[in-house]
Amino acid sequence: MDIVVLVKQVPDTWAERRLQDSDKTLDRESVDAVMNEIDEYAVEEALRLKEAHGGEVTVLTMGPEKATETIRKALSMGADKALHVSDPALHGSCAVQTAETIAAALGTVPYDLVVLGSESTDARLSVMAAMLSEKLGVAQLSGARKVEVDGSTVTIERQTETGFDRVQGATPAVVSVVEKINEPRYPSFKGIMAAKKKPVTTVTIADLGIDPGSVGLANATSEVVEMTPRPPRQAGQIVKDEGDGGVKIAEFLAAQKLL
């Protein structure tokens, strides 16, 4: 069972994130960067599947040079090798271009499963699993809180608002995971040392046969036309409970016609 796990480096959510004034893209330089949190669960799930069924786990990321930190983290958790798609021409790519680039990179690694997170904390799109399944023409097994593999049959529990759907497909398949699925391991000291020797292949869009005229900010399928800091909320009314706090809220609700 060969698995490619997709990880993305994102600005730490505790930091103040912003778009750059110059081109309205995410400022990735001035803030601390971490592995997208749900991707740790994706790496963990890939490692558990490998432990149960054998095979290799390849980490795949598309991002600037700095994203090697995130690759190293996945390798130190136990992944075997990595593929890093890095090219200045990719700066400012939209979701469609990102999916096309990742799909092209997946064309260079054999896989039975592509495992990824359900949502990135910076873009918050939750679209990548669906886009990749569409592009690759493989089974979409998304939003998994549980994954079971039996030979070439993959069955997931897809989390829904009222419970779950049991969804099944055959390999090759794309599986996205939600954080309920497992508890990611911490890299051990041994893992961190071993990661330094694991192979990381860096490729450019030329290596993947991608036309520079189809990627990057200038060719993105959507654009940010305007950005404004959130209009300050009108200062709310805050009262200290003097034994009538509940009644005060009810009065406020009534005045707002919410009751």
Binding site: V127, A130, S133, V167, Q168, V225, G236, V247
Partner: protein
Amino acid sequence: MASVLVLVDHAEGSVKKVTLELLTAARSLGEPVAVVVGAPGAAGPLTDRLAEYGATAVVTAESEDVDKHLVTPAVAVLASLVGSESPAAVLIASSPEGKEVAARLAMRTRSGILTDAVGVDGDGTATQSIFGGAVVVKSRVRTGTPIITVRPNSVTAEPAPAQPETRTAEVTLDDAARKATVLERVVEAKGDRPALTDAAIVVSGGRGLGSGDNFTLVEALADSLGGAVGASRAATDAGWYPHQNQVGQTGVTVSPQLYLAVGISGAIQHRAGMQTSKTIIAVNKDPEAPIFELVDFGVVGDLFTVVPQLTEEIGKRKG
């Protein structure tokens, strides 16, 4: 005038409220064409409601395949309509499944996609709130057909009765669309409460509740208002409330008319899931809790006295 495709979100024979909101938003962009994808017989009971909210046409695509495969049937129908209608835009509800339909449709038609819009202008520009609500952006699609997913409760649904023409469309699935099959749908927590994502009122509880049992306080308040129940991650991680109800960055995003936070501090990751709520109220014993930066009305006090009193008072007022 160009048409605007609206994918109808429906369950158990009724149109979900978010669809009425989408039809309302669609009217500023062109002529709303409601697209119903469902099992045989699904569309019949929905048509009147769609007409009431201004659908100029209702396209019905029914097939046994719809319940067997997630996402792909709607994508097949919409992609074929995008080809034949050249619509000004496609509007879809911003639910997990809605976003996946939008995502696949964007790939198939090589079109730009804008997700989680909280507003759509007549020229197709969408307003989005990013970074946990810290920044508001306006975005536009440059390639193909604008595919926009809109958050529930962002637009106020307004009736505009129309006499829609009705048409049928085929659900034609290729091999790739059949690669994932739904074996069963399991309902774990079925209550009478509205679904979290499109509820008009949400009452959420956090670590301040102290235990799972105490969530009955939050449930009673939610029920008195006809609202849904949410929880902070601290509460779901502790096992006090189901994970499905987690509001925030790694949970559900809600944007209700009224959000009531009980015993929740208001961490940035929690705010990311509720910051665009219209009215926000908090009860917290710590006057310094960051949630108070967001509120329209806040009470600094002990939730164990304030919340029951509020529930009782609402009961009295509602008679």
